[in-house]
Subunit: 285 residues, 6 copies
Amino acid sequence: MRVRAEEADELIRRALEEDGAFYDLTSTLFIPEDWKARGAVVSKSRACLAGLSVAARVFWHLDPEVEVAFLRRDGDLAGPGERVLEVRGRARALLAGERVALNFLQRMSGVATLTRRFVEILETLPRPPVLLDTRKTTPGWRGLERYAVRVGGGANHRWSLSGGILLKDNHLFLLRRHGVSLAEAVRRARGLLPPGLRIQVEVKTLAEVEEALAAGAEALLLDNMSPEMLREAVRLVGGRVPTEASGGVRLENLREVAETGVDYISAGVLTHGAPAVDMSLELES
Amino acid sequence: MRVRAEEADELIRRALEEDGAFYDLTSTLFIPEDWKARGAVVSKSRACLAGLSVAARVFWHLDPEVEVAFLRRDGDLAGPGERVLEVRGRARALLAGERVALNFLQRMSGVATLTRRFVEILETLPRPPVLLDTRKTTPGWRGLERYAVRVGGGANHRWSLSGGILLKDNHLFLLRRHGVSLAEAVRRARGLLPPGLRIQVEVKTLAEVEEALAAGAEALLLDNMSPEMLREAVRLVGGRVPTEASGGVRLENLREVAETGVDYISAGVLTHGAPAVDMSLELES
Amino acid sequence: MRVRAEEADELIRRALEEDGAFYDLTSTLFIPEDWKARGAVVSKSRACLAGLSVAARVFWHLDPEVEVAFLRRDGDLAGPGERVLEVRGRARALLAGERVALNFLQRMSGVATLTRRFVEILETLPRPPVLLDTRKTTPGWRGLERYAVRVGGGANHRWSLSGGILLKDNHLFLLRRHGVSLAEAVRRARGLLPPGLRIQVEVKTLAEVEEALAAGAEALLLDNMSPEMLREAVRLVGGRVPTEASGGVRLENLREVAETGVDYISAGVLTHGAPAVDMSLELES
Amino acid sequence: MRVRAEEADELIRRALEEDGAFYDLTSTLFIPEDWKARGAVVSKSRACLAGLSVAARVFWHLDPEVEVAFLRRDGDLAGPGERVLEVRGRARALLAGERVALNFLQRMSGVATLTRRFVEILETLPRPPVLLDTRKTTPGWRGLERYAVRVGGGANHRWSLSGGILLKDNHLFLLRRHGVSLAEAVRRARGLLPPGLRIQVEVKTLAEVEEALAAGAEALLLDNMSPEMLREAVRLVGGRVPTEASGGVRLENLREVAETGVDYISAGVLTHGAPAVDMSLELES
Amino acid sequence: MRVRAEEADELIRRALEEDGAFYDLTSTLFIPEDWKARGAVVSKSRACLAGLSVAARVFWHLDPEVEVAFLRRDGDLAGPGERVLEVRGRARALLAGERVALNFLQRMSGVATLTRRFVEILETLPRPPVLLDTRKTTPGWRGLERYAVRVGGGANHRWSLSGGILLKDNHLFLLRRHGVSLAEAVRRARGLLPPGLRIQVEVKTLAEVEEALAAGAEALLLDNMSPEMLREAVRLVGGRVPTEASGGVRLENLREVAETGVDYISAGVLTHGAPAVDMSLELES
Amino acid sequence: MRVRAEEADELIRRALEEDGAFYDLTSTLFIPEDWKARGAVVSKSRACLAGLSVAARVFWHLDPEVEVAFLRRDGDLAGPGERVLEVRGRARALLAGERVALNFLQRMSGVATLTRRFVEILETLPRPPVLLDTRKTTPGWRGLERYAVRVGGGANHRWSLSGGILLKDNHLFLLRRHGVSLAEAVRRARGLLPPGLRIQVEVKTLAEVEEALAAGAEALLLDNMSPEMLREAVRLVGGRVPTEASGGVRLENLREVAETGVDYISAGVLTHGAPAVDMSLELES
């Protein structure tokens, strides 16, 4: 469950560049090159940690000799005031990398922390549905945010548009407008798809559930349905294909949605609505 | 007040790649290449818009012939349900770019909307301080988020570590630990700086305010002070150097901080705590 | 069914650079900058064309004013000696881009031509299986080679390792060595997968077919089986999950494999064993 | 005779990206992160090996701690079933890199193997001509393919358009059409060239041989001539300038061409017509 | 006072590529891969050294095992014939990197050497002004050239257009043409700037000095003034804001300008007019 | 005789980035986005122009709608005070691009101007040698500097280490140390080289001239010889192979070297010792 270094490194480099960290005027002028320092990243509130190794890599980009001690691991819960990462090395590198390292850690931990809260609710159910993220990720950050979702205990939805088939309302609108039946479209597509992909169809009403099943849909996305309608839809499907509830799922209504019997729940808020967790770097010597 | 295309384009390309938009399986299989479509981006709630041209560029990356009509401009307020952007072109390009375009627009508008709310409060004061953002931006997104801050009516803090001097607590800690007086440090640095930069020093107490002024500080960052202490600090400074209040500024306490007489207020929440504004793309023909 | 310009452009730039085309000594010294020329790309043998627009882009990289007339389209069959593309513009650009343009076109058309021959055989069957390519593509060329497969009438297998699940012999070896039953592994993975993906399992014997089905495999890859064993495996599966034949499929044995009743046939030779089709650029004025 | 790591690394990264190897769903879900494995790359048929270090680098990109033992070196002949490379490390890295590593090794070894067969024929002659490759290389792969040619015992033609002068039929056509004599063109170019480059001219007939020599050609490319004509051309040249035979040279006619007395033979088929050599990775523990 | 490796590495890679160093024909053909060598970089004349670590990195790009001994450090003065850097490793790597390594070292040392000569003159004054470089740097080389200026004892002007405010003649021309008073412009801008930046204004006459001060200028650039006028301007300003002399400052007139009492002197010639210092690599075994 | 846009664009982008031109604080704050302006690039002294189109591209990078009028062409001589390029467009783009555009133009024109002066001297001779540049170019700038050399009337030496063979003193030292005779080394290399390349050997004494000729050298580089020795060397060679004088050639001694009868003269000073030509951008409306 590693973060892909490749991706993190590119973003780290870009972030350090946009922050001018390779030529930090203040440190260059006030902190002699040979001063050493030691500091700790401290979590200001309860957090499910994610991105510790990304934060460490930020410092390594500025000075490969910075030593990092991981006091906690990704996925651990940290309490307020807890030291989670210790760094030692050239003071200039610590100072120049501080903000960028925290910016990564705060945001990734924010996503993991929110996901964890979702999972804690689902785990109280006898047969919990799988919790999925969505494609509503920060552009450039998909890998990091989805990693944080996994760290928090969730699962990832299709990785990208080339990683699965999902017929959404806009696709269905166009098929209708051009007089192509869903059944016909599904049949033709099946002949151009590898065996490992299921054709999933978005539906908004019970009538659409029946229509999609009849057309050969191999999985359903139940969009923006009320808990009642979800329960009825699950009954209609009767286990023939997997069902996923989506749309407006939040901490407040999660349990209610989960109890409808759907197999999957996806929530965009995990990545686009997770507040950053506050962290700071405190020099100690 | 344009977004730097350079930066947006790189992120757009990366975002489209990570979303697999250059090979959207669903569209490729279900939507023939020559189908055309028209759709509108609709704001789901009240929003100060930012990033409309970025959203447009997303579609142009997929098909340079997509036509875009800007129904609103960056900085405009859109009401719930309002159509803000119209796109026409190959249906495949609209479908493949939809999610990425919205991901940009939702986040940038989120920052602008929150900034606007801050500014609306400040504008009720007789002599409002300047509202500044911070360096707590999403790695890779600084240009876009700071643009959104300007669109919302705020000003940008130093652009990067190479764009200004700010002696923070960690710098001061190290100077102290090595027995270097602030006055001596400021004097030496002054001889290595161009005339256009002021040496700003972070202070947490009134004693530190006096010490910094005595040492030659050319601007002060008043960190995490209560409104009372801020008011006293402003009195002590007596207009000799500019003052900036920072730390924990939120919508709730903004007015109180502003009324202390500081010249500048900076708030990290503008970029790291702004919730995305909900938008959708609705095909209309 | 477009080629992704993004990807082609990167390769084109790289190819022009490695060929020194941006500073072609011979043209620079012998051909004055203002000489114009017209030429045609001619196919030397029967070919299913693929990559015409890539070849055109090569010239545009050297001179955006080169005019290109597409005499044929991707997917067309060209006979020996047939002119398929006409280019006019600065002679230097035509000369400097000639080799690179042909290198792209020859290889892509090679893949399309071989695929077409496969498809022509399959189309004689009453119920032809779907023809798939594999991941045995030239590094850096996956997009172009798979596009050529589609142009030739084939379908693409899972786009990448992040685009589907396939448990191969090496995975199964490891599970066995660690005492993890396939059934248990499938069960756990199912809870971490989105609904749109099927778990496909590679099997080499009829015993493995039964074991995989019992363990919950949602699709089978029948690896290196003889036609007889394939026929028996198809019978065993009885339509419960999709079946794919793979391993050593060539023009010579394609029909025999196809007649076993499998749903899919994948053939690595489509991309790694397709000989280039000979093409040349002939200046005509 | 190293491969340029720079070039290989860029292609490796691109190949791993296009194969989704940085997020291999199957391994992530089925193979725990701490499982280790050992495997060997096995050649399925007789091969002149090329690219072993490239294959090794593929695994290092995924996990720098993978240990590789080179059982054979580039240039060695491997028999069918022979183990040529041993890898140990995290099972996930071996599984995710397997296909890409083999894709490199199979293709490079394919080129080396074919080149070796050419060289074995030439070495039976008393005074063998130099065997050269051409610029008909896979875009993006020139460095790797030409390295494989050297490994197989061949020599490389001019590295790129900026690495030598060759007046081909299209250049000569344009000179003629603009009324510029070859002699005049050669004279002017000579004054703009460094001393280390010879002006080589392509000729198709004996009359053109004489014309080129009279015009000051410093080397000749004898294009698509029959063995008889080649023999006569060599006689005409009489050792005054080097001669190179080109066009349609294959294993079948190589000896015949070589016996005509030309100094060089170039063959495009070495790089664009070499079938991949079949290799596999077999986990052993 | 390190060079930013990031930037140097990108330029090094580019320089090695443009020099074809990754495939050095001569070394490949004449120097077997396993030959080792030792050599020294020798300065041909008196030089203030800058860029030793960049030169070392050039060799490391070609072979990470090259051993480098730094006989001198950046900022040291080397006499003619002095050995400043020793390298040992594969002979091919030393030969292929020689030219590029020297190209970096010669140019950076050229800038440092000229800067040092300026500083030596200034240091004879009782109260020397700060010596600044300008933005007249070689495109792509700003970081390296400005580092060399610091090594030679100078200071860097604003890092870039986003790192400071300077109203130059062209800005003032436009404000005038649109009827915007300088005072009004300064007032508005002040409300959009962070506290750490001073508004500097370029002036060419004594009248403009007074106008700028009245308008609120926070620093002055005294452009192309004679020593007499500079002296008068300094008197007029009376220490209210910092003053900088610029325009046509050379070794010959430096002392005269410095004696006028200005706080800063900037000189473009430091980066755009510094002759390269001659260096060579001599193999010794 | 175009500059390769590709290369210029990459450097331009990098230069604009390092100059912060995509976020020019001064222009953003003082110059409204809709102000237009017109200006001219003026040469401050006599110059052979090179790089006008590069300067123009700088502005296009900032605003594709800037209109440029080329009042002069590359290769023209401009007198002091002469307007050479006119630009119109958004004032912000002109201001933000000014410095970078001039930085390119000044340096490229510097190289062309010095080359032109060399050529003017050579052209007074009855049988002038070819003037060549060297590989002593600014890293990252080879294409631009060598283009400027051609514009000034010179020719380019081998393009890179992969574009020709030159055995220099360090190669010869190593061969000697390993007991490999030059004759043997040349013989073996010849069998691995394409016909279009000549083996050039560096010699420092008349004895070495004879040794190199005997060993089969196909061209000679006469290094650092006095005019007398050069004359004698030319006599010894007697036209058998081309001769090139190199080392310490400057304007002052150029004629003397040229009169020795060598075929080529190469001078590093053309690219590493050419002072920038002063240019400025003057807004006119």
